[in-house]
């Protein structure tokens, strides 16, 4: 099987991303703008201060989720792992809903990120001892279930129209109206994580062969795994803080990337990252306009598009298994 060159794929995906971002600037609930690019640089109120931060946030979140997905799948050696698998989803939901119920005027992002990170650290603590991916996954499922019931309890016991609406929007992922300044931290985290993973790409390859093989090939397994887990948690928490729970991206982007350029991380990382960005930018454009003037959570769109796409990939799986 001859694999496509990574530079070509990166170029094509980069162009598609740029195209999707331009489209994201041009369309929105206030209508189509053919002059989006000139308006962006002219400081247009809608394009520069509403749509541009939104498009950048989508791209950042998509790229971060894809990278976190690669990290989680490598560290758990499980193709079905996604960034939320170790209890992050449950912890983030509980944190966000509690925050919305107790402090309705504050954004739920920080509480969600804190809840997600705390849940994952708890899962890692429960599965302490010799590293065992299955124990980690089962711990994640158990902690996630407990926290999901807590989330449900808050929604049932503290019902209010406003809480239900904002919680629903948040639980399915949505960007709202971000400001450019709030993107600095997620952008720095994404860039740092990408650089670390690329620099250690071969270590990640060896780790994906299993702990014993990796150690026999000179890899510091504990350090590499700790780095990857930290990246997965931090990136996912950052995305959760900005955009809530956006499903399927962290699962699909790595898989699709492997299908295009193969499984080695040096080839996979840039491709999966761009695919994640492309997917969420495109999904957000749909989320903003499909039911205009109503906006739907972007997570609904990624799941609606991602689910069938994933099934199609599974059918083709043998092509790159």
């Amino acid at each position: 099987m001859t694999r496509i060159g990574v530079p070509v794929v990166v170029l094509v995906l980069g162009a598609l991303c740029a195209g999707a971002m331009a489209l994201g600037l041009s369309i929105g609930s206030s209508g189509w703008r053919g002059d989006a690019l000139p308006a962006l640089f002219a400081g247009d109120q809608i394009i520069t201060f509403l749509r541009a931060p939104r498009v950048l946030t989508s791209a950042l979140c998509g790229a971060s989720l894809a990278l976190a997905g690669v990290a989680m799948q490598t560290v758990l050696r499980n193709d079905l792992a996604d960034p939320y698998v170790l209890g992050i989803a449950g912890g983030a939901s509980a944190g966000a809903v509690l925050s919305l119920a107790l402090w309705p005027s504050l954004p739920p992002g920080p509480a969600a990120a804190g809840g997600g990170a705390a849940a994952t650290i708890l899962v890692r603590g429960i599965a302490r001892g010799p590293y065992n991916p299955t124990r980690l996954l089962l711990g994640g499922i158990a902690v996630g279930s407990i926290l999901a019931s807590l989330t449900g309890l808050v929604l049932v016991l503290a019902p209010s129209e406003r809480l239900l609406r904002s919680a629903t929007f948040w639980l399915f992922g949505g960007f709202g109206t971000p400001v450019l300044g709030s993107l600095t931290v997620p952008a720095v985290l994404l860039a740092t994580s990408f650089a670390w993973m690329t620099f250690h790409a071969e270590r990640l390859d060896r780790l994906s062969l299993g702990d014993d093989v990796a150690a026999s090939l000179g890899t510091d397994v504990r350090k590499t795994r700790a780095g990857l887990l930290t990246i997965a948690i931090v990136l996912t928490a950052a995305v959760v803080a900005v955009g809530g729970l956006i499903g399927f991206v962290g699962l699909i982007a790595p898989h699709a990337g492997r299908g295009i350029v193969g499984a080695t991380h040096r080839r996979l990382l840039p491709v999966a990252t761009l695919l994640g960005a492309l997917l969420v930018v495109a999904a957000d454009a749909v989320a903003r306009t499909a039911f205009s003037p109503r906006e739907v959570p972007v997570g609904l769109v990624t799941a609606a598009v991602g689910g069938p796409f994933f099934l199609w990939l599974l059918q083709r799986r043998r092509a790159w298994a």
Partner: protein, 297 residues
């Protein structure tokens, strides 16, 4: 030296075709084995040891499995660790590979500690049993055996090309490991273990789950390495053990016997340590007699 002098696969007197009768084991002499003594040195007769263990105790989860192990593996020597299930073959091999810390005693690789990072693969290669083929191509997989961070440099690429050629993997380099046959996959992982040209190769049950043809092919590959790479094999395949220079027999949480295959693989020892009854069978084609396992002792 009695019957063993004519046995087909014994290293001392051999005319060998190790793969031709996988169900039978070449017969050792009838002079029995000697007990293992502290300081027994399988590699004494050869050059400076590439691996040396002194009063080693190994275990799983802190529970000792083997104690008082003394080993010396000379450069280019081939050593078999033989024992029943649970006798500690794999546990000992993992300690010798530096994967698990020993409970007591000292292991020296080439006279010192096992280095970290990419230096490690130049000293010790390990072949695991039951590894699942990944989605990497054969070239990508074997390249990981160099232990490098980043793409291989000119000299490393040379090593890679060399081992792919020696293992007859050239036509398969761009194929995904997931699409290799069992024999091709084993050549690929062996190539990964050897690409950095280690002086020592550790193999865990290398003939497990192999059909007779693949087993014979593996023996042929190992024979090509004889003399250039020292090898320690954990195995319960007696024929495989008989192709080695020395056999270390494990039982009762200790080393029971050390010596050449003809010294160690004797009917009384096999009966007492492995619990098997063996019978001498003559080769109808006029070759050397075999030991045939006929039942539990």
């Amino acid at each position: 030296m009695g019957v063993a002098a004519n046995a087909v696969t014994l290293p001392d007197g051999q005319d060998g075709d190790p793969g031709r009768d996988p169900g039978r084991v070449p017969i050792p002499p009838r002079d029995g084995t000697r007990r293992a003594e502290p300081g027994d040195s399988p590699g004494d007769a050869t050059a400076a040891p590439i691996l040396e263990a002194h009063e080693l105790a190994v275990g799983r989860g802190g529970r000792p499995v083997l104690a008082g192990v003394n080993l010396r593996v000379g450069s280019g020597e081939r050593l078999a660790l033989v024992g029943a299930n649970g006798s500690g073959k794999t546990t000992l091999l993992r300690a010798l590979a530096g994967l698990d810390a020993a409970l007591a005693g000292v292991i020296q690789w080439d006279g010192g500690e096992l280095p970290r990072g990419s230096e490690r693969v130049r000293q010790v290669g390990v072949l695991f049993q039951g590894e699942t083929p990944p989605g990497f191509t054969v070239r990508e997989l074997v390249c990981l055996g160099l232990g490098l961070d980043g793409p291989p440099s000119g000299s490393a690429a040379g090593l890679l090309g060399d081992v792919l050629g020696r293992m007859d993997l050239d036509p398969l380099v761009e194929r995904s490991c997931a699409f290799l046959s069992g024999g091709e996959w084993q050549r690929a992982v062996l190539a990964r273990s050897l690409v950095a040209r280690p002086g020592l190769l550790l193999l865990d049950e290398p003939t497990n789950h192999l059909d007779p043809a693949r087993r014979a092919a593996l023996f042929a590959l190992l024979d090509r390495l004889r003399g250039s790479v020292a090898a320690v094999l954990a195995t319960h395949d007696l024929e495989c053990a008989a192709t080695c220079d020395r056999v270390v027999l494990l039982g009762d949480s200790r080393v029971v016997a050390v010596g050449s295959p003809s010294e160690v693989l004797t009917p009384p020892t096999l009966a007492s340590v492995l619990g098997i009854r063996v019978r001498r069978v003559d080769d109808p084609e006029g070759g050397s007699p075999f030991l045939r396992v006929v039942g539990p002792s």
